[in-house]
């Protein structure tokens, strides 16, 4: 499917989706955090979209908000889509897990939790992946400070 027809189809599912193609080679859609799981489920299981391959899951600290970026591809139709969601809650950010939709999300979400402190609802095994359990803070956040291990130029 072309980006235009993808946008038309997905846009008809919910009025709260924002589309953007500027500054990216993919079509970007920003989904409100409470609709994320439903939209993601449909993206995979709808016959026309069939996004069965989650090839990248990234946590991003936007300064004010914390966000998660999902890169999706359909192995059938070879079209791609970037789904973004974000939350302004920095103390206790919670996003629905998509582990039940794409199994690869289990490890990727643990990595995001480890480095950004974003919690994932319904995740089967949400604990730190790389760092030790008693690590203080979330290193990939922009406001993380570590005077011993970080060299700041």
């Amino acid at each position: 499917m072309t980006n235009e027809s993808l946008q038309e189809l997905i846009g008809s599912w919910s009025p709260n989706l924002e589309f953007n193609e500027e500054g990216s080679q993919y079509l970007n859609v920003t989904v409100p955090i409470e609709e994320l799981h439903a939209v993601m489920f449909k993206l995979k299981h709808d016959d026309q979209t069939s996004f069965d391959y989650l090839f990248c899951l990234t946590g991003v600290d936007w300064g004010e908000e914390l966000g998660v970026v999902y890169h999706l591809e359909s192995t059938n139709f070879r079209h791609s889509l970037v789904v973004k969601t974000q939350t302004a809650e920095r103390e206790n950010p919670v996003v629905d897990s998509v582990y039940d939709i794409w199994a690869t999300a289990e490890f990727h979400e643990r990595e995001v939790y480890d480095f950004f402190g974003i919690k994932f609802n319904n995740h089967p095994n949400l604990k730190r992946l790389f760092l030790t359990d008693d690590w203080d803070g979330f290193p990939l956040r922009k406001d993380y400070e570590d005077n011993i291990n970080m060299i700041i130029k």
Partner: protein, 373 residues
């Protein structure tokens, strides 16, 4: 003679055992927490982070030229392809026109890197299942490639040969001659690999029907590279999103449908033949021209997001750069193939034996710094 019947009330008990972080079959510092019942695996939980260096955080501080150096240290067996991935992302973002010569040389060295990586994997694979000879055969042939790399880039492993805009320096005058010699040599050695290990009955019994991954699961777990292709999942980035000179060559994507350990093995052997063929198609036709186009000393990418995929020896490496227009990326994410391939280990190892786990892990071809980054 009296027949001894086993007590039917005999109960087995699940227990927990550590495999690694210094286990020879994990090839690096990977710790697996195994829950086993006798010799049957009930659960495999990887414990990561022993060599995590937080390359992604370092990238947020470094310039784009500096980032290339760090990628050598991720999947060190595909060092050149990792370098290429970052350079391609930066070049695409700057919309630089890259000379044909650079593209061809990058592809040749990329494919030689793949052969060299698969040689090491093949040697180690044999060793993991108890055939020590393969280790020496694999390293013998890999050494020839390392010598070629050393002559051209000055390094044998962490090559650091690509820079944004092209190559660090031109190829060595001996390069073409020596690569041709290698191709002629390796074509006689690959059938030897088959005779020694592929057709070995004991090896086949150890690997056939072990660690089966279905196509649906391969896609769902984000498997890529030979792991995905052995399950019939066509996932070769070189075919679907060609980069550098890969759109100018013809090669077959190595696909199998069995999805077991033996299929993953066969896919990699087939890939070595295909890589040889790609290099053969290009080696006589390296175009004349510049080996590098000048870039600014301080590279600033325009505001936006950039994604580039390449096919390393292990699978799909993704570089995702979010730029705010400064000299360093705002956020840089490496989607590494080993990370996703490791995540499916529990799925395919459960129900098997510990010995099968070793064989299965060998065909996942994990490189731990690639997972830990």
């Amino acid at each position: 003679m009296e027949t001894v019947t086993l007590n039917s009330n005999f109960k087995s008990e699940e227990y927990f055992i550590n495999m690694g972080p210094q286990h020879p079959a994990t090839h690096g510092v990977l710790r697996l927490l195994l829950t086993i019942d006798g010799e049957i695996i009930k659960k495999v939980e990887p414990d990561l982070g022993y060599i995590h260096r937080s390359i992604e955080k370092m990238c947020e501080r470094d310039s784009y030229q500096q980032i290339v150096h760090l990628t050598d240290r991720m999947d060190y067996l595909s060092a050149n392809i990792n370098n290429e991935a970052v350079c391609l992302t930066v070049e695409n973002a700057l919309q630089l026109e890259i000379p044909e010569r650079v593209k061809v040389i990058r592809t040749i060295i990329g494919e030689l890197t793949r052969i060299s990586s698969h040689c090491l994997w093949w040697g180690v694979m044999g060793m993991d299942v108890g055939a020590l000879t393969t280790y020496f055969y694999g390293f013998r042939d890999r050494e020839l490639l390392n010598d070629i790399f050393e002559e051209t880039c000055g390094a044998r492993l962490t090559m650091n040969y690509n820079v944004p805009g092209g190559l660090m320096f031109d190829i060595h005058p001996n390069f073409v001659k020596r690569v041709k010699e290698f191709i002629a040599h390796f074509k006689t050695k690959l059938p030897e690999y088959d005779r020694l290990l592929t057709d070995n009955v004991i090896f086949q019994k150890r690997t056939k029907g072990v660690g089966i991954l279905s196509k649906e699961d391969a896609i769902s777990y984000g498997a890529s590279g030979p792991v995905g292709r052995a399950s019939g999942y066509s996932c070769d980035v070189r075919k679907h999103h060609p980069y550098s000179a890969l759109d100018k060559v013809t090669f077959k994507e190595a696909l199998r449908t069995e999805g077991d350990t033996y299929a993953r093995y066969l896919v990699r052997i087939q890939e070595m033949w295909e890589s040889l063929s790609i290099v053969e198609q290009l080696i006589d036709n390296i175009p004349e021209g510049e080996y590098r186009v000048p870039t600014k000393a301080v590279i600033k990418l325009p505001k936006g997001e950039y994604f580039q995929k390449v096919e390393t020896a292990r699978g799909e490496l993704g570089v995702y750069i979010i730029s705010t227009g400064l000299k360093s990326p705002y956020r840089l994410k490496f989607r590494s193939p080993g990370f996703s391939n490791l995540s499916l280990l529990n799925h395919i190892a459960v129900g098997g034996k510990i010995g099968d786990l070793v064989a299965t892990m060998a065909t996942l071809d994990l490189v731990i710094p690639d997972i830990d980054r």
